[in-house]
């Protein structure tokens, strides 16, 4: 339905007033089948995220099958340091929170809230990554690299794939800061910020499964 039709039906209103009169609650839009672009974009990106989760579930299934196949090498109990994992978990959880704060700041066009919260999110994300890289390097250094056993192959595939996602998410985060800086809080830029925040929150959900299945259950065995 075009804006011209709307004004024609209602008579000679100035176009500027039409914008405020046109606004209706979300529910009515959904019933009429006319949904805001923000909701359509979110839905499309949600389907991508679900397909990513399905891919991770294959890695989880592989890990669950191979977690006992240590080939005489070290098991999870020997390798995992739960203190490190707890700090990694705290980093990701707090970064998820600040990412949410940043998305509110973007919608409110509040510079301090948006840039500040995005910067804190980036710092927590980088902290998580450096801890994980340190952990991986330590394991490889004592001969427990991905080629040692089927268990370690599955471990590095699963946890490394999550780490790769966090790395890509960090790059996307910096890109979104630069885009808002260069182009302002435009509606299309805000939709990209929405997609980024969905992506970042989903990484945290996958991390919940990793720290439960891999680390907590692995260290308890």
């Amino acid at each position: 339905m075009s804006a011209a039709q709307g004004t024609a039906e209602r008579g000679p209103y100035p176009i500027g007033h039409d914008a405020t009169e046109h606004r209706e609650p979300h529910a009515e839009h959904a019933e009429r089948g006319v949904v805001s672009k923000r909701i359509i974009v979110g839905y499309g990106f949600w389907i991508f995220l679900l397909s990513d989760i399905v891919m991770f579930s294959a890695f989880f299934a592989t890990y669950a099958v191979l977690s006992d196949a240590t080939a005489g090498g070290p098991s999870g109990k020997d390798l995992f340091h739960l203190n490190t994992v707890a700090i990694e978990t705290a980093c990701l959880l707090l970064s998820s929170f600040t990412c949410g704060v940043a998305s509110i700041g973007a919608r409110a066009h509040n510079d301090l809230m948006y840039y500040g919260a995005m910067a804190v999110t980036a710092i927590f994300g980088a902290g998580f990554l450096s801890l994980e890289i340190h952990e991986f390097a330590g394991m490889v250094a004592i001969g427990a690299g991905p080629s040692r056993s089927a268990f370690l192959s599955a471990f590095f595939t699963l946890v490394g794939c999550h780490g790769l996602h966090v790395t890509l998410g960090l790059m996307w985060l910096l890109t979104m800061m630069a885009q808002v800086f260069a182009k302002g809080y435009r509606a299309d830029i805000l939709r990209r910020v929405l997609c980024f925040s969905l992506f970042w929150h989903t990484l945290d959900i996958i991390w919940i499964a990793i720290f439960t299945v891999v680390y907590l259950m692995g260290a308890a065995q």
Binding site: A30, K37, I39, S57, A61, S96, G100, G184, I208, A209
Partner: protein, 133 residues
């Protein structure tokens, strides 16, 4: 409404719902939502780490407790961080999520089921080695 927004938008004067600038009340409500989510998620995480290390509870119950806590925390994240709600705007998201969960359960459950029985029916590794000699 900002004139900059209108000037850059494809359809001037046709700002979609959800694209308006969030006001003071929306900001406070949004922050409160994220704070509640953070508090709940932190609580569940701390309980999970505590339970995995404690000797106070019956040991075989620990994996089940960890699994339940993980599912609960995923629910908290979905509702408070990803805003998957039961509202009319979210019907499609919920259906997609339900389909995703179905595929994940089939994939993980099916894999574990099949591999358990294959391991069960396999000859023990020592016997295979003995036959090769």
């Amino acid at each position: 409404m900002s004139h900059t927004n209108r000037g850059l938008h494809l359809h001037p004067g046709d700002t979609a719902p959800g694209d308006e600038i969030a006001g003071g009340r929306e900001v406070v409500e949004g922050l409160l939502g994220y704070l509640v989510g953070l508090a709940l998620a932190t609580l569940i995480t701390v309980v999970a780490f505590f339970i995995s290390q404690t000797t106070l509870v019956w040991q075989p119950s620990i994996p089940i407790a960890l699994f339940v806590l993980a599912v609960a925390q995923m629910g908290v994240h979905l509702v408070f961080f990803l805003h998957i709600t039961s509202g009319p705007d979210n019907t499609n998201n919920i259906l997609a999520l339900a389909f995703g969960v179905l595929i994940v359960l089939l994939l993980i459950g099916g894999t574990l089921w099949i591999m358990y029985h294959m391991n069960h029916n396999m000859m023990p590794m020592e016997q295979i080695m003995r036959m090769q000699q």
